[in-house]
């Protein structure tokens, strides 16, 4: 247990809570990188996911492409882009966006697709346009799943930005890469604990949001069925687990 005591000692040492290397600064960088990744990935993946979910076309292709993207080795992609684009934020950001797209895409199309076709037909029958059906029926009902996609993309991004600190970046991964060659294991463990804590907090927040956006009338039971749909739709069975 002494390692953990040393790691917590490191985290609560006032010297590690100020300056550009301090925990608040590194945590802020990590959250900023993650937010940037999610915004860009969502801007790409969500519209495509809505289109696929609404029209029912291109689903097979989307499953294949997002499955393929998921299997890309992250660090390899980060290094390849650093070689092509030089060091900086752009290379790893592209890599992270590529990695965040599959869960977001799966969440978006599974969410829209999960809406009972009878409900959609009813909306069409009362004279709603396709646009209205999407925004007033499909998206609100599928929102828990769409947020679920965001949730797993966020966890993926938090974990992967840690690894990306192989090249010069801030974020919590710095503590791991800086400490390893010095055999400063308390610092490494502290970095790992901070990443885990951030991931748990973010996951908890998304869990709450997911509950809040579940429309009245869509029962708990229905949502869990929908989860199953989404899992099988993701092409790798474990959207929420990784």
């Amino acid at each position: 247990m002494s390692s953990f005591i040393a790691a917590f000692g490191w985290i609560f040492d006032p010297a590690h809570n100020v300056g550009p290397d301090g925990i608040p600064a590194r945590l802020g960088e990590h959250m900023l990188y993650t937010l940037l990744t999610l915004v860009i990935a969502a801007a790409v993946a969500v519209p495509i996911g809505f289109l696929i979910g609404h029209t029912g076309r291109g689903r097979g292709l989307a499953v294949q492409i997002s499955g393929g993207l998921r299997s890309l080795p992250t660090l390899g992609l980060v290094i390849l882009l650093a070689l092509l684009l030089g060091i900086g934020l752009i290379g790893p950001l592209i890599a992270l966006v590529v990695i965040a797209i599959p869960p977001l895409l799966a969440g978006a199309y599974a969410g829209v697709e999960s809406v009972d076709r009878a409900t959609v037909d009813a909306a069409r029958a009362v004279g709603m346009t396709e646009w209205q059906i999407l925004w007033k029926v499909e998206v609100p009902i599928g929102l828990p799943l769409i947020v679920g996609g965001l949730r797993s993309a966020a966890l993926q991004a938090i974990a992967t930005w840690t690894v990306a600190a192989y090249i010069p970046l801030g974020g919590l991964g710095r503590y791991l890469y800086d400490a390893l060659p010095l055999r400063d294991y308390p610092q490494m463990l502290a970095g790992a604990i901070l990443v885990i804590a951030l991931a748990l907090v973010v996951d908890g927040l998304f869990a709450i949001v997911q509950r809040l956006v579940t429309p009245r009338g869509v029962s708990e039971g229905r949502v869990s069925e929908v989860h199953d749909t989404m899992r099988s739709a993701s092409g790798r069975g474990a959207v929420l687990a990784d």
Partner: protein, 310 residues
């Protein structure tokens, strides 16, 4: 409830086991002759078992030693690519290997972390004092594999910089691309300031002077880069001289179990040591990587015949 508690207990057990494993990893001194079990030499007293660390350059040097000894009629076995220093020094201690190519600075610091020796000769002398009984190093080669500060040719010409001492007159902010430990190690950023009075900031790139570091130096993201002196890509840059010996010498030395260091073995290996240069190591690394990808044994053979040592 009970199932859940059992789960928690299991999780706690895993955490505790992990913690125990972490604390159990304290590094002893594998060559400490006071501990039991030193040198239970295996496979006959006359055979020399040559080991190497797990990277191509070291393997090739080990092959050079092995083939040179073989050519002189010494019985040799090889046991290459044995992890890192802690591991192969333990193998040397327990007699699974007898001889391994080492680097003087790192080996000296392994046994005497407080020594202030920096130059080749000082380090070599300090190393001889620091080595545990029963083990010794033969002559040091001119060849060195150590950290070095590099700049582009354009930078060197523009600012008239060929030595670390010249950096003081450069009036732009300096950034160094190097492994993360450069931030705190005495030969890194703190040493630049203390020894040469140069302020620089670090861009931590964890590829040990590999292609990303080289790319950052080429495209001007960093002005200085730490590249090992035996990395082939170093040839396109200007390696800065180090008149104050900020960076510790890392000459190639054969570390050997004294019992196996017969007169013949010494003569053969010292002949090899006298001819081995840093440029040779660069060409070893060139041949063992990229498109060529020749085997360590072939590269060693070519070198020995080129030097007339086969």
């Amino acid at each position: 409830m009970t199932a859940r508690r059992r789960g928690l207990l299991a999780a706690a057990g895993v955490v505790a086991a992990a913690a125990l494993t972490l604390t159990a990893c304290s590094s002893g001194n594998p060559l400490d002759s006071s501990s039991k079990g030193a040198s239970n030499g295996s496979s006959g007293s006359s055979t020399v078992i040559v080991g190497s660390a797990a990277f191509p350059e070291n393997e090739i040097i080990a092959e050079v030693y092995a083939q040179a000894l073989q050519a002189a009629g010494v019985k040799v076995k090889t046991q290459l690519s044995i992890g890192q220093r802690d591991v192969y020094l333990a193998a040397l201690k327990d007699g699974s290997i007898d001889l391994i190519p080492e680097y003087s600075g790192n080996l000296m610091q392994y046994y005497d972390a407080d020594s202030s020796a920096q130059t080749s000769d000082d380090v070599y002398a300090a190393l001889n004092d620091a080595l545990p009984k029963g083990f010794e190093v033969l002559d040091q080669a001119k060849a060195q594999d150590r950290d070095s500060y590099n700049v582009t040719k354009e930078f060197s010409e523009k600012y008239g910089v060929t030595s670390l001492a010249d950096l003081k007159k450069v009036d732009i902010p300096l950034t160094v691309g190097a492994n993360a430990e450069f931030k705190t190690r005495p030969y890194g950023i703190p040493g630049l300031k203390k020894v040469y009075g140069v302020d620089a900031t670090l861009k931590p790139i964890s590829d040990s002077g590999g292609p990303i570091t080289v790319g950052a130096l080429e495209d001007g993201t960093v002005q200085l880069a730490d590249i090992f002196t035996t990395t082939p890509s170093i040839k396109q840059f200007v390696t800065l001289k180090d008149p104050e010996h900020l960076i510790i010498a890392q000459n190639v030395v054969p570390l050997i179990n004294s019992k196996k260091a017969s007169e013949k073995v010494r003569t053969v290996l010292n002949k090899v040591q006298a001819k081995l240069t840093t440029d040779d190591l660069i060409s070893f690394n060139e041949k063992s990587s990229g498109d060529a990808k020749e085997s360590s044994a072939d590269i060693a053979k070519q070198w020995l015949s080129a030097k007339g040592l086969d």
